[in-house]
C-alpha cells in the first residue's frame, strides 16, 4: 500500500474545480426547483446568482491555485454546496413568509460573499499555519473577550432567552462563533507546549494514569469557563461545544484517557448541578424527554413541529417548495435541519450529513498528515468542533440530546456563523496545504510514514 502514496504528490486542483462546478450546478438546480415549485416561473435572477457564485467560488479556487496549491480539494466544493443549499432554503422560506426586499436570503448572500472574502484573506495573509502559534495567548485573551462581550451592558443582546449576541448597529453578531476558532488556536498552542508535562507526570490509579493535581489547572479553568457561559449566557450549546472541544484536544495532545474520564466526570457533575439549579435547563430536559406532554407543549411546541415536519418529509421529501417548513419557528436557523428533512427527505438529510462527515474526515486526515504538533492539534480541533457542532444542533432537533441554540455550519441563517465557518475552512485548507505539500528535496521519504498511515484508515 505504501507504494501508492509515495508517488509524486499531485495538487488535485482540477478535481477541486470540477467538484466546485458540480456544487454550483446542484445549487442552481435547487434554486430553479424552488422557483418552479413556488412561483411557477423560471427565476429570472438564476443566471445572475449562478455567475456570482461562480465568481466567488472560482476566485477562491484561483487563490488556492496561487497560494495553497496542495490544499485539500474537497473542502471548498463542500463548503460552497452547503452554503448554497442553505441559501436556497432560506430563499424558499422567504417566499413562504412573504418577506420582501430580498428577505433573509439576500442578507445571507451578503454574508456568504463576506465569508468567502475573509477566507481568501486568511489564505493570502497566512502563509504558514505555524505563524498562529505566536498568537497563542493573544488568542486566549481574544476568546475570553469574545465570550464575555455579550455580557457587557449596552452591547449584549438577549435574543430568545440566550444572551449570546452583541448588537452592532442593525446587525446582531454571535461572538461565540468566532471564539470557537480563537479557542482552538489557543488550545492547540497551549497544549503543544505543555503536553509533555500533562502526559508524562502523574501516577496510576485503578489502571489509569492520573495527572498530578496541580496539572489539573487548565481543565478546571476550561470547565469553569464553560459553566460560566452556561450560567450567565444561558448558552448550553456553546458550553457543550467548548468543553467537548477542550477535552478532545487534551486527549489528542496527551494520549491519556484519564483526561477524558476526568472531563466527562466534570461535565456530568456540572450538567447535573446546573440542571438542579436552573429552571430553563429543566424545561429543556422536559422538552427533550417528553416533547408531546401537556407540560412540554405549554413551554414550546417547536421540537414537535420540527418532528412533524421531518415526518411529513418521509424518505424522499416533499420536494423543495412543496412542504411547509415555515410552520416551525427558526426554520431558517436552528431548525434548518428539519426544514431540509421535510423537503429533501431522509435521503437528502443523509447526503447532507455525509457532506459534514467529509469535511470532518478531511480535517482529521489533514491532522494525521501534517508534520508539526501544533498543526495536528489545530486541525483536529477545527475538524472536531465542526463535528461536535453538527452533533449538538442535529442531535437537539432529533431528540438525541436536549435542544440547544447553535447554528448548523454553513447551512443556517446567521452572519457570524458563516464568517466563522468560512474562516475555519480556510485554516483547514491552509494546514492541508502543508500536510500534502512535498517537503523540498526529499519527496519520497517524507511523504512516507505519516501518509502511509492515512491510507490504512480507509
Amino acid at each position: 500500500m505504501s507504494t501508492v502514496t509515495s508517488l509524486v504528490p499531485r495538487t488535485r486542483r482540477n478535481v477541486e474545480l470540477g467538484l466546485l462546478l458540480l456544487a454550483i450546478g446542484i445549487v442552481m438546480l435547487a434554486y430553479l426547483n424552488v422557483g418552479l415549485a413556488v412561483q411557477g416561473t423560471f427565476p429570472p435572477d438564476l443566471l445572475g446568482y449562478g455567475l456570482g457564485f461562480l465568481v466567488l467560488g472560482g476566485g477562491f479556487h484561483l487563490v488556492l491555485r496561487w497560494r495553497a496549491p496542495y490544499a485539500d480539494p474537497l473542502l471548498l466544493p463542500i463548503g460552497t454546496l452547503l452554503n448554497g443549499l442553505g441559501l436556497v432554503m432560506i430563499h424558499r422560506l422567504d417566499l413562504a413568509e412573504h418577506r420582501t426586499g430580498g428577505g433573509m436570503a439576500f442578507k445571507q448572500l451578503t454574508w456568504s460573499a463576506l465569508g468567502v472574502i475573509i477566507a481568501i484573506a486568511v489564505i493570502i495573509a497566512l502563509r504558514d499555519h505555524r505563524q498562529l502559534r505566536r498568537f497563542t495567548f493573544i488568542a486566549m485573551a481574544t476568546s475570553i473577550g469574545l465570550l464575555l462581550l455579550p455580557l457587557v451592558p449596552g452591547l449584549g443582546r438577549n435574543i430568545n432567552g440566550n444572551r449570546i449576541w452583541i448588537g452592532l448597529g442593525p446587525f446582531s453578531f454571535q461572538p461565540g462563533e468566532i471564539a470557537k476558532i480563537t479557542l482552538t488556536v489557543f488550545f492547540a498552542g497551549y497544549l503543544v507546549q505543555t503536553r509533555d508535562v500533562l502526559s508524562l507526570v502523574g501516577r496510576r490509579f485503578l489502571g489509569i494514569a492520573l495527572p498530578r493535581p496541580r496539572d489539573l489547572g487548565p481543565i478546571l479553568i476550561a470547565w469553569l469557563t464553560s459553566v460560566l457561559v452556561l450560567v450567565f449566557e444561558r448558552d448550553l450549546g456553546s458550553s457543550l461545544l467548548f468543553f467537548g472541544l477542550f477535552v478532545a484536544m487534551i486527549y489528542v495532545a496527551t494520549e491519556r484517557r484519564s483526561w477524558v474520564a476526568i472531563g466527562l466526570t466534570l461535565f456530568c457533575f456540572g450538567a447535573y448541578a446546573a440542571y438542579l439549579m436552573f429552571g430553563h435547563l429543566q424545561q429543556r430536559v422536559l422538552l427533550w424527554l417528553h416533547p408531546f406532554s401537556q407540560a412540554a407543549l405549554q413551554v414550546s411546541d417547536q421540537i414537535v413541529l420540527g418532528l412533524m415536519g421531518m415526518a411529513s418529509g418521509g424518505l424522499f421529501g416533499t420536494g423543495l417548495g412543496r412542504g411547509h417548513p415555515d410552520f416551525t419557528y427558526f426554520a431558517e436557523s436552528d431548525f434548518i435541519y428539519p426544514s431540509m428533512g421535510e423537503e429533501l427527505g431522509l435521503f437528502g438529510l443523509f447526503a447532507l450529513l455525509m457532506l459534514y462527515v467529509l469535511i470532518v474526515e478531511r480535517g482529521l486526515r489533514t491532522a494525521l498528515g501534517v508534520r508539526d504538533g501544533f498543526g495536528k492539534l489545530l486541525a483536529t480541533g477545527l475538524a472536531f468542533s465542526m463535528a461536535l457542532q453538527v452533533f449538538v444542533v442535529v442531535g437537539g432537533v432529533t431528540r438525541v440530546i436536549p435542544l440547544t441554540g447553535l447554528t448548523m455550519p454553513f447551512l443556517s441563517y446567521g452572519g457570524s456563523s458563516l464568517l466563522a465557518n468560512w474562516a475555519l475552512l480556510a485554516l483547514l485548507l491552509r494546514i492541508s496545504d502543508q500536510a500534502r505539500r512535498p517537503v523540498a528535496g526529499s519527496v519520497a521519504s517524507t511523504a512516507s510514514s505519516e501518509a502511509t498511515e492515512v491510507v490504512k484508515l480507509r
Binding site: 478532545a248 486527549y251 489528542v252 495532545a253 494520549e255 408531546f292 418532528l307 412533524m308 415536519g309 421531518m310 415526518a311 411529513s312 418529509g313 418521509g314 424518505l315 412542504g323 411547509h324 410552520f327 428533512g341 427527505g345 431522509l346 438529510l349 443523509f350 450529513l353 459534514y356 462527515v357 470532518v360 474526515e361 482529521l364 491532522a367 494525521l368 504538533g373 495536528k376 492539534l377 483536529t380 475538524a383 472536531f384 463535528a387 461536535l388 453538527v390 452533533f391 442535529v394 442531535g395 432529533t398 431528540r399 438525541v400 505519516e450 498511515e453 484508515l457
Partner: protein, 491 residues
C-alpha cells in the same frame, strides 16, 4: 499524536451514526405516528389539499367543496345553509369535522377510508388527482323542506322514515344553524361563529332527532303498551278494558292517574282497547301496563329498538325504559311518563315497524357512496333489525291508529283520499323553578298510506310550541306530520 486522532475519528463516526439513526427513526419508523398525531397542521392542510367529497340530496349538493385561492385549496360550502345543518354537520379548520355526516363519515369524505383503497390505487396508476368520496343521502328534499317549514320557528324535531327500508326521508331539528361560517378560512370569524352556535338559545348544534337530552314520549308510547297487550294474546282491539276517570295507583298514598279530560273512557268506565287508544285514555293504559307488568313493557320496547346502539351513521342515543319499576311507576311508564326517554327517531321506528308488518328496519341516512365521477362505490342495502310484533298484531295496531286519525285525537292529520294511521302524545316534563308545570311537549307519530305505507313520521314540538298549556299532540304536532306525509304521498 496520530493514534488518539484516529480514535477520535471513531468517536466522530459514533456521533454521526447516532444522528443518522435518530433521523431514520423520525422520518421512517415514526413517520406515520407523527403524521396521525392530533394537531398536525400538515395533515390538516393535506386534507384541504384534496377535494373533499360532496354530500348530495336528490343529486344536488347540500355540502360541497369549491376551489379557493388562499393557502387552503378548497372551501367547504353549504348551499342550503340551515336546512341540513344537523345532517351535514360542519367542517372547520379550527374545530375539525363534526356535528353530523362530516364527522361520522370523515374518512370517506376526505378519501382516507380503507374502503377507498382500491380506488386510490387506480387513481395513482391513472394519475388522477385523488379526492374524497361523495355521499348520496336517503333524504327526500321535499319531505325535508315540508318538515322544516311546518315546524317553523318552534323548537322540536321531525324525522321521517321509509317503513319498508329504514331509509331516513327527513331529519329536521330546530333550532338550526348555518355551518358555512364555521368552514370559513378566516379563522377569527370561525371562532366568532363557533361561539355563536354554541351559545345560541336552544343549542342548535344538537341534533334533536337522535341526540340531546331525549324526550318523554307521552301517549305515543301507548303504541308500545298496546303492542305488548296484543302480542300477549290476551287482548284484541275489541277487548273491553277498564278506563275510569281517574286511576288510583297502588302502593302509594292517594296518588292518582287522571284522564286528560277528567272523564271516564267510555260509558260505565270501560271501553275497547281501540277506543282507549283513539281517545288516548291514560287510565286504561295505566291499568293495562300494570296488568302486563314492567318486564313485558320493557321487552316490547326492546323489540322496537329501545336500548339499541344505532348509528345512522351518526351515533344515536339509545332510548330507554327504566330498569327497576314498581307498579305505579309501570302505570306511568305505560303512558310514556315516568323515566321513559326516547329519540324522535325511535318513535318513528315504532310507527315504521307497525307499518312494515311488524319488522323494524335499521335506519340509515347514506343511500350510497360515490367516487368523484359519481360512480357508485358502495350501496347501503336495507337491513332488518328485529321483528317487533307479528304481522297480525301489526294489522290490528294499524286499524287502531287509523281510528285515532279518523275520529280520535288526531283528526288534524287527515289527508283527503289517503288513510293515515297515527298516535298523538302530550308529554309532561317537569316544572319550572317556581313550581308551575312546564308546558308539555306535543308529539305525533304516524304512517301513511295505511294500506300501503310509504312514510312513517315522528314529530315533537317542545313545550307545546305556540299552543302552550292547552296543547295536545293532535293540535300542534299532527298538522306538521300531515304536511310531511303529503309531500311524499301526494305526488
Amino acid at each position: 499524536m496520530n493514534a488518539p486522532i484516529r480514535r477520535l475519528s471513531f468517536i466522530v463516526a459514533a456521533l454521526f451514526a447516532s444522528l443518522l439513526i435518530a433521523t431514520t427513526w423520525i422520518q421512517f419508523v415514526q413517520a406515520k405516528d407523527l403524521h396521525d398525531r392530533p394537531g398536525n397542521r400538515r395533515t390538516l392542510l393535506a386534507s384541504y389539499a384534496r377535494e373533499r367529497g360532496a354530500i348530495l340530496v336528490g343529486g344536488s349538493p347540500v355540502a360541497r367543496s369549491v376551489p379557493s385561492k388562499d393557502q387552503l385549496k378548497w372551501l367547504r360550502t353549504y348551499p342550503s345553509a340551515r336546512l341540513y345543518s344537523q345532517v351535514t354537520g360542519y367542517y372547520s379548520f379550527t374545530y375539525g369535522a363534526g356535528g353530523g355526516l362530516e364527522g361520522a363519515e370523515d374518512s370517506l369524505l376526505s378519501g382516507q377510508s380503507d374502503k377507498l383503497f382500491y380506488r386510490r390505487i387506480v387513481d395513482m396508476v391513472t394519475g388522477k388527482v385523488p379526492s374524497g368520496a361523495s355521499l348520496e343521502l336517503t333524504i327526500d328534499p321535499r319531505a325535508q323542506k315540508a318538515a322544516d317549514e311546518a315546524l317553523g320557528d318552534q323548537r322540536g324535531a321531525v324525522v321521517a322514515l321509509d317503513p319498508s327500508t329504514g331509509a331516513i326521508l327527513a331529519m329536521v331539528s330546530h333550532p338550526q344553524y348555518d355551518p358555512s361560517p364555521l368552514a370559513s378560512h378566516d379563522l377569527k370569524s370561525v371562532a366568532r361563529a363557533w361561539q355563536q352556535v354554541n351559545n345560541a338559545p336552544g343549542n342548535p348544534a344538537v341534533n334533536r332527532t337522535i341526540n340531546g337530552d331525549l324526550y318523554p314520549p307521552g301517549s305515543t308510547f301507548k303504541l308500545v303498551t298496546a303492542a305488548a297487550a296484543l302480542s300477549s294474546g290476551q287482548y284484541t282491539e275489541d277487548s273491553e278494558i277498564p278506563g275510569p276517570a281517574t286511576l288510583k295507583l297502588p302502593e302509594t298514598t292517594n296518588a292518582k292517574l287522571p284522564n286528560d279530560d277528567r272523564l271516564p273512557c267510555g260509558p260505565g268506565g270501560t271501553s275497547t282497547l281501540l277506543v282507549a287508544l283513539q281517545r288516548s285514555c291514560n287510565t286504561s293504559f295505566g291499568g293495562l301496563g300494570m296488568k302486563l307488568g314492567a318486564d313485558a313493557l320493557r321487552a316490547q320496547a326492546a323489540k322496537f329498538g329501545f336500548g339499541d346502539q344505532l348509528s345512522v351513521p351518526m351515533r344515536v342515543t339509545p332510548s330507554t325504559v327504566p330498569e327497576q319499576m314498581n307498579r305505579p311507576q309501570t302505570a306511568q311508564a305505560a303512558i310514556g311518563q315516568y323515566d321513559v326517554r326516547v329519540t324522535p327517531l325511535q318513535m318513528a321506528m315504532v310507527s315504521a315497524a307497525i307499518a312494515n308488518k311488524g319488522v323494524v328496519m335499521r335506519p340509515y341516512l347514506v343511500k350510497d357512496v360515490r367516487s368523484a365521477d359519481l360512480d357508485v362505490i358502495e350501496e347501503t342495502s336495507p337491513e332488518q333489525l328485529s321483528q317487533a310484533v307479528s304481522p297480525d298484531v301489526a294489522a290490528r295496531l294499524t286499524r287502531m291508529m287509523e281510528a285515532v286519525v279518523q275520529n280520535g285525537t288526531a283528526t288534524a292529520a287527515q289527508i283527503p283520499g289517503v288513510s293515515v294511521a297515527g298516535k298523538t302524545g302530550t308529554a309532561e316534563h317537569g316544572s319550572a323553578s317556581d313550581g308551575t308545570p312546564l308546558p308539555p311537549h306535543a308529539w305525533f307519530t304516524a304512517f301513511a298510506p295505511a294500506d300501503n305505507p310509504r312514510i312513517a313520521v315522528a314529530v315533537v314540538v317542545e313545550d307545546g310550541g305556540r299552543a302552550g298549556n292547552e296543547a295536545f299532540g293532535g293540535k300542534v304536532a299532527a298538522p306538521i306530520a300531515r304536511q310531511v306525509i303529503e309531500s311524499v304521498v301526494n305526488r
